[in-house]
C-alpha cells in the first residue's frame, strides 16, 4: 500500500495520458434535506488520473454529493461504485479504506495539534503503546518532499497560514494512500498565485495516477485545469463537457440557467469631499493579537473604495472597528468630520453609517425576530416606531410593507421570522433597513457571499445607486472580481496593512493578485 508515495524520484511525465477506466461512479444519487432537494438523481464519474471539475453556484449541491461519496451523510437513493464494485459506504472509515480522500471546504484540522498529530489522527502509528511521532514525521517529510508540499510535521497547525493548512489536508489524504482525492472549493481561500501552486500540485498528483475531483464555482479555474467539467445547478447535473469544446459564457449559462451579465453598469464617479477618514488605526482581535497595523485612508462621497485581500488579513477587524463593534487600540476614525473613534454602534448609525455586516446571521439580523422587527432595528426607539417608550406595531408593519416591496424581499409576510428566509432575502432585509435611511457612509463587508446570482446583481445595483446618490461606500470583499467591478479605487490589505492603493482603471488582476500575496513586502 505504501508504494504509492514511495515511488522513484522520476519527474512527472510532461504529457498526461488519460486512461479511460472509471475509478469512481455515482449513480442516481438523491438526497433530501429538510426543505431542499440537495441532490436529485445525480450521475457522475471519475476516470483514473484525470482532474474532473465539478462546477456550480453556491448551494448547487456539490458539497452534498461529495459528503455522500465520502460517507459523512447517507444518500436516500443511489449507488456509489468504486473500481467497478458497488461500495457500501457507511462512514468515512469505509471511504478511506477504499482509497478516497477529501479536503473539505472548511478545513478539518485541529489548530492546537501539530501537523503530525493532525495527519496521523484516526490512523495512528503506535510503538510500545505510545504514539510514534518520529515515524509519522518521517513519513510526512517523505510525502511532502515528493510533491513539494512543504509541510513541517512539528509545526502547530494554528500557526500556519491557510495556504499551508491546505497542504496539510492534502498530506492527510496521501498519508492514507488515497487514490481518489476530492478537493472542495480549495481555491476559495487562496491568492491567485497560491492557486497556481495548488494547480501544479494537482498536476503532479495526477501524473502519479491519483484521480482528482476539483470543486469550484469559478469558471476560469475549471477551464484552466480540468480534463472534464461537470456543471451542477439546484441539485441536478446539467451536463458534462470538455474544456476544449466550451467557453465561459456557455458554462455560466449552464450554471445559472440564463444569460448572465458579468459586468456591472456604472457611470463615471464624481467624488466629493471625504466622508470617512481613518488615521493610523490599529486593532487587536479577540486573541489580543494586533491584526490591523496603523492603517490610514479616506473614502469620498460618491465613490466606492474596495478593500481587496485574502480572507484573514485584518479586513474583519478593520470593519468591526469602523462600525463600533470593536474598540481600536490606536488611531482615529472620523465620519463627516465627527470623531467617532471607539464610539458604540448607535452613535455611528446616528452619524450616518449604514453597515452591511460580514456575518449576516449573527450581526445583521435577529434570526428569531420577524422581518418587520428586523427592519426597524436601527431606529425602533424613535417615533414613529416608538412613542413614550412603547413600540407601535402599526408603524413597524407599515414600514415593513413599504420596504418589502421597494427592495423586492420575497417573504410570505412581514411577520415571518427572518431565519426562515433564504440567504438572498435575508441580505435584502438588511440592505432595506440600512439603505432606506439617510446615510452618508455605507460599509459593506462580503455583501454577496453565498448568494444566488439574481440577488448578487440586485445588491450590486443598490450599492452603485448609493454611490451615485453621493454616499461614500467602503466595500470589503474576498472576491477580486466583485471588487474590480464595483470599486472606483482599490486598497489591498495584507497582514493588517494597506500595501497598495490604486485607481481601478489603472490596475490589473495580476498586479492586485501579487499585492494580495504580499509581493511588495517581500521585494521591498
Amino acid at each position: 500500500m505504501t508504494e504509492n508515495y514511495m515511488l522513484s524520484e522520476a519527474r512527472p511525465e510532461p504529457r498526461r495520458r488519460i486512461e479511460t477506466n472509471i475509478v469512481l461512479e455515482a449513480k442516481g444519487i438523491t438526497k433530501q434535506f429538510p426543505g431542499v432537494l440537495a441532490n436529485d438523481k445525480v450521475n457522475f464519474d471519475l476516470r483514473k488520473g484525470e482532474i474532473h471539475a465539478l462546477l456550480g453556484e453556491n448551494g448547487a449541491g456539490k458539497s452534498t454529493l461529495m459528503n455522500l461519496i465520502y460517507g459523512l451523510h447517507r444518500p436516500d437513493k443511489g449507488d456509489v461504485i468504486v473500481n467497478g464494485k458497488t461500495a457500501a459506504i457507511h462512514s468515512p472509515n469505509d471511504s478511506i479504506s477504499l482509497g478516497i480522500g477529501m479536503v473539505h471546504q472548511h478545513f478539518m484540522l485541529i489548530p492546537v495539534f501539530t501537523v503530525a498529530e493532525n495527519v496521523m489522527l484516526g490512523d495512528e502509528t503506535i510503538k510500545r503503546g505510545a504514539l510514534d511521532r518520529n515515524t509519522v514525521a518521517a513519513k510526512i517529510n517523505e510525502i511532502s518532499k515528493q510533491y513539494g508540499l512543504d509541510a513541517d510535521p512539528n509545526a502547530l497547525v494554528g500557526d500556519l497560514p491557510v495556504g499551508l493548512q491546505q497542504r496539510v489536508e492534502i498530506v492527510k489524504t496521501l498519508y492514507r494512500n488515497a487514490e481518489i482525492v476530492i478537493l472542495d472549493e480549495p481555491t476559495a481561500v487562496l491568492t491567485p498565485q497560491e492557486a497556481e501552486d495548488l494547480f501544479r500540485i494537482m498536476r503532479d498528483l495526477t501524473a502519479r495516477g491519483v484521480s482528482i475531483i476539483f470543486i469550484t464555482h469559478k469558471l476560469k479555474e475549471a477551464l484552466a485545469i480540468a480534463d472534464r467539467i461537470t456543471v451542477m445547478r439546484a441539485g441536478r447535473v446539467i451536463n458534462t463537457v470538455l474544456p476544449s469544446e466550451t467557453d465561459s459564457a456557455q458554462l455560466a449559462n449552464m450554471m445559472v440557467g440564463r444569460q448572465v451579465i458579468l459586468t456591472v453598469d456604472k457611470k463615471d464617479h464624481e467624488a466629493k469631499e471625504a466622508v470617512l477618514k481613518v488615521e493610523n488605526l490599529s486593532v487587536r482581535d479577540q486573541r489580543d493579537l494586533e491584526t490591523v497595523h496603523h492603517v490610514s485612508f479616506f473614502v469620498r462621497g460618491g465613490e466606492v473604495l474596495g478593500i481587496a485581500g485574502v480572507q484573514g488579513n485584518g479586513q474583519t477587524e478593520l470593519s468591526e472597528a469602523l462600525t463600533g463593534l470593536r474598540h481600536p487600540t490606536g488611531g482615529k476614525v472620523f465620519i463627516s468630520g465627527h470623531d467617532v473613534t471607539g464610539k458604540p454602534p448607535r452613535v455611528m448609525t446616528e452619524t450616518g453609517l449604514a453597515h452591511i455586516p460580514e456575518d449576516r446571521q449573527r450581526h445583521g439580523l435577529v434570526m428569531s425576530y420577524s422581518v418587520a422587527d428586523n427592519m426597524a432595528l436601527c431606529d425602533y426607539y424613535h417615533p414613529p416606531f416608538s412613542k413614550r417608550g412603547v413600540i407601535q406595531p402599526k408603524a413597524l408593519d407599515e414600514n415593513a410593507r413599504r420596504l418589502i416591496s421597494a427592495f423586492d424581499v420575497r417573504t410570505p409576510s412581514p411577520f415571518v421570522n427572518a431565519g426562515k428566509l433564504s440567504g438572498g432575502n435575508q441580505q435584502k432585509v438588511i440592505v432595506a433597513r440600512e439603505l432606506s435611511r439617510s446615510v452618508k457612509l455605507v460599509i459593506a463587508n462580503q455583501p454577496t457571499r453565498g448568494l444566488d446570482v439574481g440577488s448578487i446583481e440586485y445588491i450590486h445595483s443598490v450599492i452603485v445607486k448609493m454611490r451615485d446618490n453621493g454616499a461614500a461606500v467602503l466595500l470589503v470583499s474576498a472576491e477580486l472580481d466583485e471588487i474590480m467591478a464595483l470599486s472606483d479605487r482599490i486598497a489591498v490589505m495584507y497582514r493588517g496593512q494597506i500595501v497598495a492603493m490604486v485607481e481601478t482603471k489603472k490596475s490589473t488582476r495580476e498586479q492586485l493578485g501579487l499585492w494580495m500575496a504580499g509581493a511588495h513586502v517581500e521585494t521591498a
Binding site: 465520502y70 459523512l72 451523510h73 462512514s91 468515512p92 472509515n93 478511506i96 477529501m102 473539505h104 478539518m108 484540522l109 485541529i110 489548530p111 492546537v112 495539534f113 498529530e117 493532525n118 496521523m120 489522527l121 484516526g122 490512523d123 495512528e124 503506535i126 503503546g129 505510545a130 504514539l131 492527510k172
Partner: protein, 356 residues
C-alpha cells in the same frame, strides 16, 4: 509549560505555610510543621485531585460536567453502604468489605456518568442542566436512602446505624517513608496514592497515546475527528464514564478513607472546587493537581492551626475563628475563577453537542 501559573501556585502555598510556621515556631520546629502540613495537604487534596481528573476526562472529550459534586456524593454513600452490607450483613472482614466499598463507589460514579453521557451526548440536553440534574438527584437519593435504611422504624438496620468496617489503612512507601521528618509525607492512605498515580497516568494517556489524541480531537473539533473515521459519540461516552469512575473514587475518599461514616451533603462543594482546580490547571492533569494542592493547603492550614490555637498572637486573633480560615478554600476559588491567574483555554468544542 506554563511557569507563571506554577509560580502563582507555589507562592500561594508558601504564604499559607508561612503563616502556620510563624504562629507555631515557638512550640514546634518549623521543619516538623512543614512536613506535617505537607502530609495533610496531600491527603486532603485527594478528592479535589480526583474530581479535577474527572472533569478533565469529560471536558477534554467535549462534555462539560458540573455533576462531579453529585457523583462524588452518591459514590460516598453507595461505597459506604456496600462496605456496611459486606461487613455487618454478610459477615466479611473489614478489609475485603472496604475494598468492595471502593469498587461500589467507583461503579456508582460510572453509573451517574452514564446518565450524564446519555443526557448530553444522545439526547443533547443542555450540559449544565444535565449536570444540575445529577447533583439534585444525588442529594435526593442519598438523603432519602440514608433516612429509609438507617433511621426508619422497621428498616433493615432497625433504626440505628451499624458499625462501619473502619477506614482504609495507610501504606508506607518503602524506604522513602523511613526518611526522618519528611518520611511522613510518604505514609499515605491508598486512595491518595492512587490519585497521585492517576495524575501521571492521565497525563501520559492524554498526551502520548492514541486514546488521548482521539479524546482531545473530539473535544476540539468533533467534525474533523468524524471525517477521519473516529466515532465521536463513542469516544465521548467512554471518557465521560472514565471521568465518572474518577469522581467515584473521589467519593470513596469521604466515607472509606477519611471518616467511617456518611452524612448528608458531606462532599460540601468539593466537586465544584475541583472544577475550579481543573480550570486553574488549564485542563492538564499536572496543573490541576497543583491547583488542588493550593486548595488542600488552605484546608491543611485550618487543621494545623487548631494545634496552635493558644499561640496565635492577639493581633491575629481572627485566625482563631475556625470558620474564617475554613472559608479560605472558597475565597481562593472565587479569586482564582476571576482570572487573576491569566487566561485559560478550554477545549474548543467543550459543552457543544455534535450534530452531524
Amino acid at each position: 509549560m506554563d511557569w507563571r501559573r506554577f509560580g502563582v501556585i507555589a507562592l500561594v502555598i508558601a504564604i499559607l505555610f508561612g503563616v502556620v510556621v510563624l504562629i507555631g515556631k515557638n512550640q514546634t520546629p518549623p521543619m516538623v510543621i512543614i512536613t506535617s502540613m505537607l502530609a495533610t495537604t496531600i491527603a486532603v487534596a485527594t478528592p479535589l485531585t480526583l474530581g479535577a481528573l474527572s472533569g478533565i476526562y469529560c471536558e477534554r472529550a467535549g462534555v462539560v460536567n458540573i455533576g462531579i459534586e453529585g457523583m462524588m456524593l452518591a459514590a460516598a454513600f453507595f461505597g459506604w453502604l456496600a462496605s456496611i452490607y459486606m461487613n455487618s450483613i454478610f459477615g466479611f472482614a473489614p478489609m475485603p468489605s472496604l475494598i468492595v466499598g471502593v469498587i461500589a463507589a467507583v461503579l456508582s460514579g460510572a453509573l451517574f456518568a452514564l446518565l450524564h453521557a446519555a443526557l448530553s451526548i444522545t439526547f443533547k440536553v443542555d450540559q449544565i442542566i444535565g449536570g444540575t440534574v445529577i447533583n439534585i438527584l444525588a442529594i435526593g437519593i442519598t438523603g432519602f436512602l440514608n433516612r429509609q435504611l438507617f433511621f426508619e422504624e422497621g428498616s433493615i438496620f432497625g433504626g440505628n446505624v451499624p458499625h462501619a468496617p473502619g477506614i482504609l489503612p495507610s501504606i508506607r512507601v518503602p524506604l522513602l517513608a523511613d526518611v526522618p521528618t519528611f518520611g511522613r509525607m510518604f505514609d499515605q492512605q491508598p486512595i491518595t496514592i492512587a490519585a497521585i498515580a492517576l495524575v501521571f497516568i492521565t497525563h501520559y494517556v492524554l498526551f502520548y497515546t492514541r486514546w488521548g489524541l482521539r479524546t482531545r480531537a473530539v473535544g476540539e473539533h468533533p467534525r474533523a475527528a468524524d471525517t477521519v473515521g473516529i466515532n465521536v459519540a463513542r469516544m465521548r461516552y467512554a471518557n465521560v464514564i472514565i471521568g465518572g469512575c474518577m469522581a467515584g473514587l473521589g467519593g470513596a475518599y469521604f466515607t472509606l478513607q477519611s471518616v467511617p461514616s456518611f452524612e448528608p451533603l458531606m462532599t460540601n462543594g468539593r466537586g465544584f472546587i475541583s472544577l475550579a482546580a481543573m480550570i486553574f490547571g488549564n485542563w492538564t492533569p499536572i496543573g490541576a493537581w497543583a491547583a488542588s494542592l493550593v486548595f488542600g493547603t488552605a484546608q491543611a492550614m485550618q487543621i494545623n492551626l487548631q494545634f496552635f490555637r493558644e499561640l496565635i498572637l492577639p493581633e491575629w486573633a481572627f485566625l482563631k475563628n475556625s470558620y474564617i480560615v475554613g472559608l479560605a478554600p472558597y475565597i481562593l476559588t472565587m479569586l482564582i475563577l476571576t482570572g487573576i491567574i491569566g487566561k485559560t483555554t478550554p477545549p474548543a468544542a467543550d459543552g457543544v453537542p455534535y450534530e452531524k
